[in-house]
Every structure is written in structure tokens, then in C-alpha cells.
Symmetry: C2
Subunit: 368 residues, 2 copies
């Protein structure tokens, strides 16, 4: 392989695929990035076998070839390269890559590309197209509710549902649940659902560079593929039965309050500072015109917060894990929200006042 | 105690003194901040017994008093306060502080101010005044050369020397040495020297908010006090004999090269990426017109860097720990530097081309 490329493109390619390189892998080859020429581009690929990312950059190919470069050291070298024409030159006999930036050069010990796992191409049965900005907002509002604990894998995923032109996402860690939908620009004539690792969706979100571009999502039996710009991300799907989310969402309520998102967030965050030391419990007391939030810790002290609300229905009391409330208030893109309650033992529901495409459910905590 | 204050001032005061609160202290009282009213100000004080910081902020005093607040939780609460008038109110009977931000409030369990160690006022025998910007630049160019290993305390300090209107600073970890001097605006008529913990100087640098203000430095037998703006920082001095730095600085050289600082930094940083895996060793080879820097690691690969230089004197070869070279090239505020060498076993000297107030010495590494 012998190619000429520029520094900025090389940095972008390496930074993108680096996200799929696992820090602790038992297979040495997975600590590398496969680089491979194709026509007039260089393809960079990394995978941890769960998630694979590839990114292609424009280069001038003098001689085709491929090689696996050690990811960490290669990324550090690339970041420090001078802003001149860069030549990558490999001697395929001994897997050594020479990075030339005249008059200086670095040679890196690499691995054989034959050892790199093949990432299978998907049969393009089903695919949809969605605007990046909408996709990002969905991931932001839903993915945080997935569990991070790998013991029950199904809860580390986001349920993705396509019903014709409706795209739905649901995540739950069994203590809270987030739901968001959107209407696609074109009818997909599809009825499909699968559980996608939340981590993969978050990676796609992070890697999006242009909020106006479209993301193509290709669905297969065990895998899902996201294509956008010069990037392709492939993830396995999570096997297992996702809980019936419709069943847990109450259809009516006895108490409904309207409150400013920011005011409630600030009050909840302050209450959580003291609550955190204990079990994160904050108590909410809904009165005519005011929501009283209190928390206390024997060691630290007490917080009493009063937030203005508009009440419909009954006064109420309920306790929540403050973190679950803070999480949603940080991602809900609406100045005002509605909280719906039905007694202190039923889940609380939070919605934006201006849209019915989002819903968040929190299970209460029993307190005395 | 009962006072009214504003949020921004309170945040500043807490953030400043928080730097002196040790994360791991065996004395619970030292995890707190002493707050105490005096005339129309609130004094906040923290100390880890090595370093004490106090900061005063304007407040409206309704009732005088003092208390020790738990530093971590108090700083978190203060950061989250709304931007309204804040009332701090203590009930001295039970050491509880109430933070009122109507209509809400937080109460914090505190400690008795009687338990807080008294920070002694210094007798103001000797003091000098220096401009913040100059002080910061001296600390930046010298303090990094002090050792971080506490086993030999003397090397964790910076030797500070006052000779009439000359202010000198020296630091060494025995592998390299940095020296910087400046001329003060007024003659001090003093001859004084002491070893100040590098950490204390770095803290003062960090806390300086206005580069144009003057810092007053007050010297006592065992302590040093820095006063600037509304902040006072008191540090113990380090006891022991600082090595005779003049003795180790060569007075002549056989090789002298002039090189662009940035070009040398970039080349050294690239070489250090591969050198780091081993023992950080990079080799320098001075030729007519070019400095060749090389490094290699059996595992990773090799770097060959060529940097343009102007040579006076003999060609030369020498090996350094790359980190010691990178460190100085990052802080030397001059586009070009001079490197002076005398064979491969004598220390290398680095100076800015445009000033003779700074000098950096690196001991070579013996290689084959």
C-alpha cells in the first residue's frame, strides 16, 4: 500500500473508528484499526465484535493494500502530524507502516489484515431514512433510561419500532421508562421491531457531524446498520423479549400539574444534593399553586423547595429517586411540562406541554 | 450570624478556599470552611495545615457570628443557588446553617468554629510587591521542574531568592533544573531566601484573577504569605538545604544551536510517543543545519525527525528523557531557543534567544 492523504481527513477517520476499539480486549487484533484502500478512498475499520464502525476518507492511491495499525499509538501519532501532505507506505512483507511527512518519518509495527474479523455486509431488505437532528433528539430523550448493568441485557437496549411512517423508541431500566416517537418523511410500508444496544444509538448520535443530513438505517435479522456521511456503524441486536411498555403506562390520572421545566430542575437538583447521601429519595407534595419538594439526610441537613404550579385535580404526595427526575428534566425540550399522578403508589408521568410525542414514566418509592 | 449576600460573591469565595481543603483528611474539622463575619465582609477560610487560604466577600451583616460549614456539600449547594438575594442564618446553639433563597431554603449541619485551627498572622517584617502577570510567568516556567515525590521534600519546593531588586526562582527534581529571575519595580533592600512548596506557588498562580494587580508577598521565618485582591494564601516553608544550583550550570559550551521552539516541540512530542513505551529516551544528533531526533521501541516502531537549526561549534550527540524536553518547550515564551551542549555526558542548557532571565538544564541519559 502507498497512499497520499491530508492530515485533517486522517485524523477524522481515526477518531471516528476509535470509538469501536475496546480498551480491554483479549484479542490483540481488535486493538487495531484495519486500513484498506478501495478505488480512491482509504477505509478505516474497527470493531469490538458487538459494534463495528467504518469511515472512508479521500486519498490518492499509488498502490493498493491493507494493514491493521495499532489503534492507540496510531491515533496519537496522527494527531501530532504536521499539516503537510502525508504519505502512508507499507511493506507488506513485514507489516510495517511508514508515515512520511518530509523530511521526517515514523514507522509503526502493524498486524496482518488477514487476521482482522470480517464485518459481514447486510442484505438490504429493510431500510428507512431519518433526519439526523430528529434522530439525535430521540436518542437524547430515550437512551439514558436504558440500564447500564449488563446482567439483564434486554434492558440495556432501546426498543425500536417501525410502523409504516411512525418511528418509535422505548427504553426502560425497570425504574423508569422513556418513550418517543416521530413521523418519518416517507411511508416505509414496514412493520418491524428490535432491541438495539443503547450504546450503539449513542455512538451514532455522537458521530453525526451535520444535523441536516439523512441517516440511512438498514435492518436485518440480527444486526442494524447506520449510514451517514462517510461513516457506517454496524451493531448486533439484543435478543430477548422487551417488556410490554403499553401495559405500564396509566391511561388516566387524578392529579395533573403544569410547571416550568427549569424551575423544577433547579429545585430538584438542589434537593438531590442532600438526598444523594441517602438513597436519593425526594418527597413531592402537590398543593394548590405550589409543589413542595423536600429531602433530608441525618448527616448533612435538609432541603425545602417551593415551586409554582398550576394544579388540576387532587392534591397529592409522592416520593421519587431524584436522579430519575433530574435526568428527564435535562433532556425534555420544552419550557413547561405536565406531571400526572394517581396517588403515591402509582407511577408518575411527565410530558412536554407542547407535544404528544414524548412520555416519561417514573415509579414511586414507598416511604413512611 | 445573619447575613445577606449575593450568589456570585459566595460562589467565588467558596471556590477559592476549596483549593485548600484536602480530600483525605483525618481531622474532620479540616473538611470544613470557616465562615466568619467581620465589619461588612464575610471571611471564608480553609486549611490543610500546610496551606491556608482565605477570601473575603462583601455582605450585609445583620448579626455577627462564625461557623464551620462542610466544604464539599456547601460548595455544591452554593453553585446551584438561584440568582436572588441569599440569606445565611445560623443558630449558634446547634451549629445549623440555614441558607434562605425565598421561598425555598436549605439547612446544613455544621461544626463549631472554636474547633477550627487558628491560622497565625505573620509579623510583617519583610515584604515585596510583584505584578501578577510576571509572577504567573515565573511560576509557569519554573514550578514544573520541582519533584512531585514527597520522599525528598526539599525538591518539591521552589527556591525563592530576593537580592535587593532581583527576584529569583529555582526548581529542580535532580534530573533537570529551571531558573528564572526578574527585576522588581522597587528595591527591597533585602537579602532573603527560602524554599516555598511548588504547590503553593501554583495555587497562587491559579487564583490570580487580574493579571495587572500586584501581589504582596510577606516573608517570615517559617511561612510565606501571598496577598492579592480579596485573597490571602499562607504556606509553610520547606526546611532543609537546597542544592547549590550555580555549581551545576556549565559556564561554557562546545556546541550551540538555534532552533524554532514550535518545530522542536512538535518533533520531540512525536518522538516521545514511541519513546514513552520504553524509558522516554530520545536521541539528538546535531549536524550542520539539522538536528536529528530519533526514538525507537521494539514493540511499536521508530520515529525519525529532522529539524532545521543554525549550528555554532561542534557537531554533537546526546540523549534526553523526552518529557523533560517537552516540558520546557511548552513554557518557554520565545519563538526561538538556543541549546548549548558540551559532549554527550554534560548537561544540556536551553535558553530563549531574546532574554537572559531564563535557563533550563537537562541531564543527559547515557546510551550506547
Amino acid at each position: 500500500m502507498k497512499i497520499l492523504c491530508n492530515r485533517e481527513n486522517l485524523i477524522q477517520g481515526v477518531q471516528v473508528v476509535l470509538r469501536a476499539v475496546s480498551a480491554k480486549t483479549t484479542l490483540p487484533i481488535l486493538s487495531g484499526i484495519l486500513i484498506k484502500t478501495e478505488v480512491d478512498r482509504l477505509y478505516l475499520t474497527a470493531t469490538d465484535l458487538e459494534l463495528g464502525i467504518d469511515c472512508s476518507i479521500p486519498v490518492q492511491v499509488i498502490e493498493h493494500g491493507s494493514l491493521v495499525v495499532p489503534a492507540r499509538i496510531f491515533s496519537e501519532i496522527v494527531k501530532k502530524l504536521p499539516d503537510t501532505k502525508i504519505e502512508l507506505n507499507t511493506n507488506n512483507q513485514n507489516n510495517i507502516l511508514t508515515v512520511n511527512y518530509s523530511p521526517s518519518q515514523t514507522t509503526i509495527n502493524c498486524m496482518d489484515s488477514e487476521e482482522f474479523p470480517v464485518i459481514p455486509a447486510l442484505e438490504e431488505n429493510h431500510n428507512i431514512s431519518i433526519k439526523s437532528s430528529i434522530f439525535k433528539s430521540m436518542v437524547k430523550q430515550v437512551a439514558f433510561s436504558a440500564a447500564t448493568d449488563e446482567n439483564r441485557p434486554i434492558f440495556t437496549g432501546v426498543l425500536v419500532i417501525i410502523e409504516n411512517d411512525i418511528f418509535k423508541t422505548v427504553a426502560t431500566d425497570t425504574h423508569r421508562l422513556a418513550y418517543r416517537n416521530t413521523t418519518l418523511e416517507a411511508d416505509t410500508n414496514m412493520n418491524w421491531q428490535a432491541v438495539v444496544p443503547a450504546k450503539a444509538l449513542v455512538e451514532v448520535s455522537r458521530l453525526i457531524q451535520d444535523d441536516d443530513e439523512m441517516i440511512d438505517i438498514i435492518f436485518a435479522e440480527n444486526q442494524i446498520n447506520f449510514k451517514f456521511g462517510n461513516i457506517s456503524l454496524l451493531s448486533r441486536l439484543i435478543e430477548g423479549q422487551f417488556p410490554n411498555y403499553k401495559q405500564v403506562i396509566p391511561t388516566s390520572c387524578k392529579t395533573k400539574i403544569r410547571v416550568l421545566t427549569k424551575a423544577l430542575l433547579d429545585a430538584t437538583e438542589r434537593a438531590s444534593l442532600v438526598a444523594r447521601e441517602g438513597s436519593n429519595v425526594i418527597k413531592l407534595k402537590v398543593q394548590e399553586n405550589a409543589l413542595i419538594i423536600t429531602s433530608d439526610s441525618a448527616d448533612l441537613g435538609k432541603v425545602y423547595e417551593e415551586v409554582q404550579v398550576e394544579l388540576q385535580g387532587e392534591e397529592a404526595q409522592i416520593s421519587f429517586n431524584s436522579r430519575y427526575l433530574v435526568d428527564v428534566l435535562k433532556v425534555i425540550d420544552c419550557e413547561e411540562i405536565v406531571i400526572e399522578l394517581t396517588g403515591s403508589l402509582s407511577p408518575g408521568i411527565i410530558r412536554p406541554v407542547d407535544a404528544n410525542n414524548y412520555l416519561y414514566l417514573i415509579l414511586p418509592i414507598r416511604t413512611n
